[in-house]
Symmetry: C2
Subunit: 138 residues, 2 copies
Amino acid sequence: MPYTTKQRQAVLQVLERRGERPVAAPELADALRREGCPVGLATIYRQLERLAETGTVHRITTETGALYQYCPRRDAGQACFLLRCAACGRVEHLDCPQLRSLYQHLAAEHRFQVDPRQTVLTGLCALCAEQEAEHGEN
Amino acid sequence: MPYTTKQRQAVLQVLERRGERPVAAPELADALRREGCPVGLATIYRQLERLAETGTVHRITTETGALYQYCPRRDAGQACFLLRCAACGRVEHLDCPQLRSLYQHLAAEHRFQVDPRQTVLTGLCALCAEQEAEHGEN
DNA sequence: TTGCGTGCAAAGGTTTTGCATGGCA
DNA sequence: TGCCATGCAAAACCTTTGCACGCAA
């Protein structure tokens, strides 16, 4: 840690507290302002950039902008696979042998090297699938 | 086809001509202007929206904005898997049994339903991987 | 004291929206 | 004639950048 400022800590705290729920930069700014610890939007973006570079948070590109999600590093820098629910926005990590072997297959047979950090499998998580089924019954 | 206008055709023609190379909306507007067939940016966005809804083009979300790529529908509406090269931006379709079975595995074992249309596997295509290897040797 | 982080404001870019106009059916 | 698409302009966003100031080391 070359530096520590209260803004840096505040940003990180919000991310930690959100846990698995990813947050957008403007939303994060609102949260901090409501907590009585306002941080400039530019600062937030700069901190998020640093945090994403070091792997402390994930940066997830969506149609409406980028989302950031705290990523407690289990095994430092290990490849982790991301599943994003299009309905609730949540992102889960998955360490699945089949997924890993698929990527190996793509590299070997289709000459395409998937970058797990840039790749997000998007779809419907279990909870949202349930809710959608309920609504479908109506 | 409820309607046919020359703008609609012009937009589609550019997309067809680009083939596999995805294009951004502002870039598409430039192309049309250079061809002597200027189309308003708003119109382009509206057309692209329609084309994406019907599945005629893919809409690919990137960090810098959305890209659109013509998608010659082989088997109408069939699920197609997308591989995007982060280096050159090109997107290829892939119909791979292993990929399909992986998605089934995720649904069955991890309760996550991947939506192929929203999912883009990002990484390095064969050509760009070669070039990168060459540069690495320097 | 030095340098980096911060805040504010402005700029840049993509995308959306409102409204009057014009063309196709 | 009626409706829908178009064009233009403005607006809404997110995000980045420049610059002066302040705080941490």
